[in-house]
């Protein structure tokens, strides 16, 4: 049993490493295939041909692509992700990440927590009141939430809660490392903007999974045995319904990362998503590589965690 679990973890980790390498390679070659030159951003459009050549030589950009990729992998394995070429010249990518990754992770986790809380309440309420007013309202809001892009929701939230009611700052984010309460306050609107579309789809999944499970045979058996309704709901309905729910949460994490990219720009969060946009436009290859790898690892890790949770919820999946 323990051995099987260990073997499972080892194979999964090896798989993650392989996927990460493949993903890094795809991003690497796709970025290099795109036209543009970091030298133009770093040195300006007036730079002479010699200056550009010197720049390229300094950063090994004149080497064959496969050599460059090899260098990147070799350095990355040693934990050296290089230095920014064109958007923060000379700064260690590692240092940039140390400042920004906590912000992105904070917003991401905050958003998931909000989405899960909202959907647990709304989904359960809708399922328990199937066909009733609460159900209609919750499902309508969910349908609307799925159809609205997060950046639009972001602006709506800014207008309503920051500019209108003045409850939250309209712009800017205080890092959780500086002030946890400041981060909770300034991160609420951006997290909610990211959470809203997710909460909508979670709610729908949870609602239908609850309803589906409520009509299963084992529930009827449990009822006939005279178990309490709360007991049946928690142990026979909710528990089974959580499996698709948790799976969907895992799937949504990649959209979550896409969402942070846009939302970070709108709310001025100094995170990895906004860094990636700047880096991509400035052709700052080392930063793009590092961002892509980070996002990839997060998605893969979340998938593993989701699998583990599902296995815990349903021992048959082992």
């Amino acid at each position: 049993m323990a051995f099987a679990l260990l073997r499972h973890v080892v194979t999964r980790s090896a798989g993650v490493m392989m996927l990460a390498l493949m993903g890094a390679a795809v991003v690497f070659f796709a970025m290099r295939a795109a036209p543009g030159d970091p030298a133009l951003t770093a040195l300006g459009e007036g730079a002479s041909t010699e200056t550009i050549a010197a720049f390229r030589a300094r950063w090994n950009l004149d080497e064959p692509l496969i050599v460059q990729f090899g260098l990147w992998v070799a350095n990355a394995l040693r934990g050296d992700f290089g230095q920014s070429l064109s958007i923060a010249s000379g700064t260690d990518v590692y240092a940039l990440f140390a400042n920004r990754l906590p912000n992105t992770l904070f917003i991401g986790v905050y958003a998931i927590i909000l989405a899960v809380l909202i959907s647990l309440v709304a989904g359960t309420a809708a399922a328990l009141n199937r066909g009733g007013i609460i159900d209609t309202v919750a499902t309508s809001i969910a349908a609307a939430g799925i159809s609205m892009p997060d950046f639009w929701i972001g602006y709506v939230l800014i207008y309503a809660f920051a500019l209108g009611l003045g409850w939250f700052p309209a712009y800017g984010f205080i890092s959780p490392l500086e002030s946890p309460t400041g981060a909770l306050l300034s991160g609420f609107l951006p997290s909610l903007a990211i959470a809203a579309p997710m909460a909508a789809s979670f709610t729908r999944i949870l609602r239908s999974a609850l309803i589906d499970n409520a009509h299963r045979d084992h529930v009827r058996v449990a009822l006939s045995l005279g178990h309490g309704k709360t007991f049946i709901f928690l142990h026979h309905i909710l528990r089974n319904a959580l499996i698709p729910f948790v799976t969907v949460i895992g799937l949504q994490v990649r959209y979550l990362l896409g969402g942070t990219v846009v939302i970070e720009r709108i709310f001025g969060i100094n995170g990895v998503g906004s860094l990636m946009i700047d880096a991509a436009f400035g052709r700052d290859y080392p930063i793009v590589q590092a961002c892509a790898l980070t996002f990839l690892l997060i998605v893969l890790l979340v998938n593993i965690v989701v699998d583990l949770i599902c296995t815990m919820l349903n021992p048959r999946m082992r």
Binding site: S86, A88, I158, L163, G166, F267, S274
Partner: protein, 519 residues
Amino acid sequence: MDALTLNRRQALSLVAAAATLPISFRAQAQSTTSQSPASLLRAAITGYTVINTFDPAKVTQLPESYVVWAVFNALVKFNEKMEIVPDLAESYSFIDPTTLEFKLRKGVKFHDGSDLTSDDVKFSLERVLDEKTASPNRAKLSSIKTIETPDAHTVRIITQAPFAPLLTYLANTRTGTQIVPRKAVEALGSKFDLNPVGTGAYVLKEWKTGSGVKLEAFPDYFDGAPKIQTVTMPLIGEESSGLTALQGGQIDLTSTAPFASIPNLVKDPKIKVYKQTGLNVRYIGLNGRKAPFDDPHFRRALAMAFDRQAMVRSVVFGEGSPATGLLPPAIAKPGQPVPPSLTFNPAAAKAELAKSKYPADTEIKLLIWGPTWWRKIGEFFVIQVNQVLGTKIQIEAGESNAVFGRLRSGDYQAAVWGWLGFIDADEYLGDLLGKDGSRNFHGYNNPAFEALLEKGRSEVDPAVRRDVYREAELMMLEDMPLIPCFNSNVHNLSVPGLKGFTQLPYSNYGDQFAKLQLG
């Protein structure tokens, strides 16, 4: 189970706590927003996020200049009428057509406490000229033969030939000629990039990559200590976010504004809008080395086949002026009629196309890039020109870095492009269309035009120079190597209480901080 259930009292207190949460949030939000004492100015850099250096010689990005303008001074600067006036210099004069002499102010201190001398001036300019510095502005100073320093407060710049634009290039703009201290630069080496030492009203205190800049007043500033002690300059990538930050009370001043919002904002009493036609030009760049744009008839036909006024209305919501030449109004000869080649005239455009050796349906790809309004320039142009002339111009979308790369290498037929921040007429006509112009991506080479450029460069009388450039402009509009579209407005937004901000058409910024007051 019991542990999870709440009694009624507990449940009620929980609900009450939840209800007070927004109120406590609100109190916190207000405590951060209402706290803008007059000693702090929050001057956001909007629309940009990249800062690589604060070394004037190496600056390439506009936000870098915003900061450099506050931290450094140049020999001369522009006043509110866009006239050149002394800054670190006390006075200047042309001793002869190739010798420009500056008398320096006495008692000017750098941030490290050292005195400004003529040697620092010589060092600063020679540094831009030095290949090793890799300054993007090297070519601007290449007319300089030698720099003499007869005494500690006199600098003589001797050029190979009379070169009128030099004075513009020595002003505190984007030409990298701000004065740096020799000692500090030599001591710091490449660390000077992020640890600038200048003579300016503000000292750089902090730079957080991608996040923002913090400046502190320089008490020994030669023009008197600034009124506002601290200036923070957060980098806000989205212009619309800059606007909400201003409306939400998180900032006091922006460096740009979204065009679409201006018509409403000018009516808003809670926001002060500064605007005027900027020193910039938006155009359709043509590649004169490739069919069909190697034929001037084809080029002229396109130039007359769209309505610039309508373009300004639909692309930048009226926030601009239709082009009347290649030079923006702030530096063009005033009161000139719009040349026929820049006037919307379908009949003349069709007649011109009929004279071309290429048929209307020649395959043409117009490169467009960027977000929103930049993109719309190309879309508007293609829709109207195709409709008027029956051409089959197609759009190819890229992004700025990629499109610029193709412009440079000549791998394009037509592309939407533009420049901002050029101040001297020679930067527009000479750089963009001179045969050796560093931004001549159009293959334009006209000896008569070159002769006029030469004449303009050697003429030191501003009025005569202006006439020469008008003549050159009319000549180039006859050939139409690129199609000028419009000059967009430059904008700043501030809170109503901000006093003393003078907006110049080249989007100046940091040079104003010392004069500002927040009341």
